[in-house]
């Protein structure tokens, strides 16, 4: 897949009192992700071409993807395709890149969600709602040892827009 055609749609940067290695581990291991990502488990085969999977708390496949760039603990690019019927067919693949860089006594983590075509704001509202919550919680987990108990409402605006496009939603 040629990732040069993808344009950033959502960028979120957060600084964390941690090390690049610990941030990398938190992003790529289910032990951590279950705590900050609403019980979801990240399973990553950390090599180019490896599988990248996120399982819902009930064990079902929520996100299926592939590792496209893997440079620990600096950069990870993956496809991040939510496993809903017709989603990839209608919206194209979703690309997520994590960039990790030391910044004095902290680490800067930048998440970029990119797409190969224009995506409606209604659909992007899901990610705009989700990423700040997930990454705020990841920061708290690494700094204080406890993730945040964020009660998230379902992303209604996104779900309605997907439904209208004929994409299967829960």
């Amino acid at each position: 897949m040629n990732i040069d055609h993808f344009k950033p749609a959502i960028v979120y940067t957060i600084y964390i009192a941690s090390t690049p290695e610990k941030v990398w581990q938190a992003l790529t291991s289910s032990e951590f992700s279950r705590k900050y990502f609403f019980g979801f488990a990240v399973e990553a085969e950390l090599k180019v071409g490896g599988a990248f999977i996120v399982r819902a708390p009930d064990g079902s496949l929520h996100i299926g993807g592939e590792v496209l760039e893997c440079d620990p603990p600096r950069k990870l690019t993956i496809t991040w395709n939510v496993n809903w019927p017709a989603l990839v067919e209608k919206l194209g693949p979703t690309l997520v890149t994590y960039e990790i860089a030391p910044a004095g006594g902290a680490v800067r983590l930048t998440m970029t969600e990119a797409h190969d075509r224009p995506i409606d704001d209604d659909i992007l509202s899901g990610g705009r709602q989700g990423w700040p919550a997930i990454l705020s919680s990841l920061k708290s987990l690494l700094e204080t040892g406890a993730a945040l108990a964020i009660k998230m409402e379902p992303p209604q605006r996104m779900l309605a827009a997907l439904k209208q496009m004929g994409i299967g939603t829960p």
């Binding site: 910044a103 705020s136 919680s137």
Partner: protein, 155 residues
């Protein structure tokens, strides 16, 4: 085209009152905002200034002061001739209780097309608000050197 603006959302384990205090008191802001003091009496319509290491970097006016829900002020960079040519922009903080947390939504808007300030503040706010979150949750702000932000003229 969407209008040029910067929006940042973060969730902080604190109370709206404590977050309000951190957003409006120099005692806090010096710790999480690159040694910046907030100079104002916080009355709507009063002058507002950011003073970093003793130098006024930005000046504006208080627009809204609705404790502990909504705070807004204008913001004009004053350290260079170029910056002074840009019109004042508007900063709005919304504090929403979210269970035991507070959802903080920062919106920085009213930028002119092609504003040079926008790329700088887009790099600055995540560092400032990340440090604010750390200070409120762990008691310690982040040690981020200004040079790590990659903002021209901010070192």
């Amino acid at each position: 085209m969407s209008k040029p603006e910067f929006v940042y959302v973060t969730y902080i384990e604190t109370t709206p009152e404590k977050l309000w205090e951190a957003l409006t008191s120099s005692e806090f802001s010096r710790r999480y905002w690159f040694n910046t003091e907030l100079k104002t009496n916080w009355k709507v319509g009063s002058p507002f200034a950011l003073v970093m290491n003793g130098t006024t970097t930005d000046a504006g006016e208080v627009l809204e002061f609705d404790r502990p829900r909504r705070l807004s002020y204008t913001f004009q960079h004053v350290t260079s001739e170029d910056a002074r040519k840009e019109r004042p922009t508007k900063v709005v903080f919304n504090l929403e209780p979210h269970g035991k947390l507070v959802k903080l939504i920062l919106t920085h808007e009213d930028f002119a097309e092609g504003s040079k300030l926008l790329s700088g503040i887009s790099r600055g706010w995540p560092a400032i608000l990340s440090s604010l979150k750390s200070l409120l949750e762990s008691g310690t702000a982040l040690l981020i050197p200004p040079s790590a932000l990659g903002i021209e003229g901010f070192e």
